[in-house]
Symmetry: C2
Subunit: 231 residues, 2 copies
């Protein structure tokens, strides 16, 4: 019943073309049913989703942010709240300069669910285990200070677990409870990764086996525009 | 470096006046540095934050929701998005009928940070350990489908860890990174509690000792109205 959060230590600096599944499988003993959480930054680096920016010209970064947005929702100071092509609503279209070489920015993966599937397939091929993969990124929240890690892509692990029609602890039928376990897995993993520790992946061991199924953040987690109350 | 998420098993049904700290300390071996996450529902029950509603009249529940709101932000069908007296923006003012006896609803604790301190003090007195406490609740998110657990109160564990001015993995000074570890702890704990498993508390073991400090969700996490972009 206990879940363990295990950081993957000793990962090298990641470059375009690197096989993240291989690098992770070489550094940790995976077991069937593990969920591997990998941060967007290394996924973007491995996929070559990098772009040059002028480090002395803030407008250069801003132009990339606007190029990556399908809709600009709010501006305040240097912050631009945008909607990305994936349907994510986040700061600066997810374009980010931290942990990057000076003069380079990382863009979000084009299809983070596909990124997760690619890592999952590589892990499966090398470690001969059935694992789930979550690609995580760090997002702010509308009403709350501080950032938390959320899932931007999943493979082999439920994004949302639907407890609609389940039974609560007193035996009554529950109303709607759709739990976004993918986001909770991403947040949990962040606790052992940290922003400055150079740990870009972690293993979550001991999750409910029922959660291990095909899934997609794009189709399960992104709130459709027509259902949105605040955009 | 590994963090363990340990459910507290065998908790009884909670009634007004129950000492949650004692009930938890009797069922788990706590260690210095543990963080105990307790769900709002049992905190509200222990504090007698209960109100009668007419189970056959939806307007009865709605009246309580409106009474608990300081501001009504959006309505859609049965859903009312409100701002509570604590400054939380959530569905139905956090008033909730699940896992409640028919005809009763649970209100949010009046001061969830104080609730967390009370549980922390009780745990400290009984188990002679220095622990942090997070009171968690289940909130939806503006742009994402599904709910996740977040912190509504904290004691003895950082709500937000400020990595502003820290150094990233490449030795460069980071821009602003304020991580809401309290929300990440709540989400992590939810993974071993589940909505229907009757586990209202969990222990998070192995967190960074630097996070164990006085804190408050009210002052650190609630985004001030003047900084809000979407209300």
């Amino acid at each position: 019943m206990t879940i363990s959060l295990i950081p993957v230590q000793g990962m090298p600096e990641i470059h375009p073309g690197d096989d993240l599944g291989r690098l992770i499988a070489e550094r940790t003993e995976l077991r069937d049913g593990d969920v591997v959480v990998v941060t967007q930054k290394v996924v973007s680096k491995a996929e070559g989703r990098l772009i040059q920016v002028d480090p002395d010209d803030p407008l250069s970064h801003k132009a990339v942010v606007e190029q990556e947005a399908v809709r600009i929702l709010r501006r305040r100071g240097d912050l631009i709240m945008t909607e990305t092509s994936h349907g994510f609503v986040c700061a600066n279209s997810g374009v980010d300069l931290s942990n990057m070489e000076r003069g380079w920015a990382a863009l979000l993966p084009l299809d983070p669910d596909r990124s997760a599937r690619r890592i999952r397939d590589s892990l499966r091929a090398r470690a001969a285990v059935a694992v789930g993969v979550v690609v995580s990124d760090t997002f702010g929240r509308t009403w709350r200070v501080g950032v938390t890690d959320v899932a931007i892509g999943t493979a082999g692990v439920a994004a949302v677990v639907d407890l609609r029609g389940g039974v609560d602890g007193l035996g009554r039928v529950l109303e709607v409870t759709q739990v976004c376990v993918a986001d909770e897995l991403a947040s949990a993993a962040e606790l052992v990764m940290g922003k400055s520790a150079g740990v870009p992946a972690a293993v979550v061991r001991g999750v409910d086996p029922a959660w291990l199924r095909e899934s997609s953040v794009r189709t399960e987690v992104v709130r459709p525009y027509r259902e949105d109350l605040f955009r």
